[in-house]
């Protein structure tokens, strides 16, 4: 399911990222690659996201971007 549906506080694993090649590269560089564990720290119904990465980083994502990330 898309990352946007995940409740705050839950940890999930990224299955796939379906973005254009430029954005995909940036997301990969930030550690958002298939297989990575992420924790959703903030997810309001609208507006951007805050993600926690397994390795300690914190990343803010726009909703549009979050929608392209499939997790399980």
């Amino acid at each position: 399911m898309p990352l946007t549906l995940i409740q705050p506080g839950r940890s999930v694993r990224i299955v796939s990222v379906n973005a254009g090649s430029g954005l995909q590269g940036r997301l990969s560089a930030l550690g958002l690659v298939p297989g990575a564990e992420v924790t959703v720290l903030q997810n309001c119904l609208r507006g951007p996201f805050i993600l926690g990465l397994g390795c300690g980083g914190r990343i803010a994502l726009g909703r549009g971007v979050a929608n392209r990330i499939e997790v399980e």
């Binding site: 720290l41 397994g54 914190r58 990343i59 971007v65």
Partner: protein, 710 residues
Amino acid sequence: MKSRLTVALAGNPNSGKTTIFNGLTGARQHVGNYPGVTVERKEGTLRYGDTEMTVVDLPGTYSLTAYSVEELVARNFIIEEKPDVVVDIIDASNLERNLYLAVQLMELGTPLVLCFNMSDMAAAKGLSFDQEKLSRFFGAPIVNTIGHKGEGLKELLARVEEVARRGVQGPVSEIGYGREIEAELKTLVRLLEEENQIPEGYSPRWLALKLLENDREVGALVSSPAIRAQVEKSAKRLRGILGEDPETAIAAGRYGFISGACQEAAVSSVESRHSYSDKIDSVVTNRVLGIPLFLALMFLVFHLTFTVGDPLMGLIETGFGWLGDVVGGLWPEGSGSLLRSLLVDGIIGGVGGVVVFLPNILLLFLAISILEDSGYMARAAFIMDRLMHRIGLHGKSFIPMLIGFGCTVPAIMATRTLENRRDRLTTMMVAPLMSCGARLPIYSLIIPAFFPGNWHAPLLWIIYVTGIVLAILAAKLLRSTVLKGESAPFVMELPPYRMPTLKGVLIHMWERAGIYLKKAGTVILGVSVLLWALTTFPRPSEADTARFDAAREEILAGGHAEEEELLEQVDFREAEAALRHSWAGRIGVMMEPVIRPMGFDWRIGTALIGAFAAKEVFVAQLGIVYSVGEADEDSDSLRDKLRENYSPLAALSIMLFNLVSAPCMATIAVTRRESNSWGWALLQLGGLTVLAWVVSTVVFQGGVLLNLGI
């Protein structure tokens, strides 16, 4: 061994790279531009033993696959200019993500030193690694530093020298990407070698990898159609087998290598990191509290800037006044010397008028540097993104717009934080519509002259809001025409909060203020002289001078009681006549047909020329044309004159025109510099002036039609 070394500092944004750079080079820094882009190139020199090192502070980058202009610059520098050593500054408290760049540098085969910065924070979080093991994985020495305390810098230099001396000690570890990708890599490497398509200094494996990663820059290096076809074929095959793009698979492979290395080298790892940062974030980025907190902080910044800045501005003003008096005093009283007028009115007056804003600019930049270095700015962009997105701008555009209410020049400089050029240009173009501090004297002169007391505050509010609404409309227009295209998707790292260091904040502040002084200063000096010449030449005819002299003598001979006053009136009349005779006056007269529809006459036209130098000059220039002598925004005699000559409708039109029109020359100069093109600077000048004309004309003519003019 070379006695001169080039050392490049690479690293993720927020890794403390700049702190290390400042610690290494201190004041021996030089800021330039990379050719063709507006990214700053910071260099410094230092001596280590007999070795002279040139240290280049590359822009922060997450990866060698360039995403923003800054990343492209950093990457091209490493690949093309081949520094002797690359130091990768790594935030040790966020190791895995930061090692992603290190892995890519390792693959590139650059002589590498890994600098584990903020090692104290990492230790405090209970992270420790067997660094010897890690060092072996990466084939590079690891140095621990604490940037803000300057710890570990000596050792860093020693390692840099060592690496430069021995070069890369291959073979370093090679990342295995799995059977499928490796097979395609092998095919590509063979083809590259067969076709002789390996540019000098590139390793075949690295080229093949980048081609598979669909890297545009590297793709352009390879012209052979056979290779291109093979790349496409390989990518398609991999997509079929792996179910994902090769670039994603390759990135995942790198992360696999990193987590493997970290797991083997990890001594202990405690999951308490980021806890205090998360706690602050749960308040600061809260859906309900976030925006009010942000607004309160911004209010504080402005309050600080203007309350602390005002007395300092007064001091500088007094200083320039004193300087003008001293220089003017070198000539006898009443001397009509041209040189004196040029020095006092042109140069000292003109440059002084701009330098006066320096305290405000310094303070504003101080506040911004603190907010940036502490990590809050990233949150502010996060909070504002939703609102800004609606008008086609990026969350980060908000900060420059806000600064614009103080002064447009630092506002345009603040657009540098925007990665996407379209976002950045749009923000630059509309920033002058935020009514700056220098326009306030115009409103405070005109509003009380024409409107009843209970209208004052609402009118001022309407003017400011008009500016904001026009900015929103202009941004939308630009985004759907010349700057069409997707706004950069919002992806941003939120660095952990940290205490800004005094040295870092001061250096940041000074970098920006220095640019303002140096660059804008030279342009402003030139234009000041030009404007002075416009209002001075051609000089009044001898007949005119003789006429006014005769009038003076008549008064003196008459022995009037109000002799002083009468003499003064003659002086003012002479000044008006001289101004009308000057080029500025003539341009004003020539402008009349164009500015008539807005309800202006030649006098306003002349004052508008002054406003182009600096908006607040408008008031002083009106004072000259209406012969009331020294005028300021509280001048009642000037208000009387204005009331006699214009209707309230025309007054509103004048204010609107000043709000929207021709940003001052300092703005144009800085837009030219920051956009690196005269085209955008002139578009800003022309576009805003046309917009101002349309707005003022519609308001004035509409008002006349509705019979509001009276």
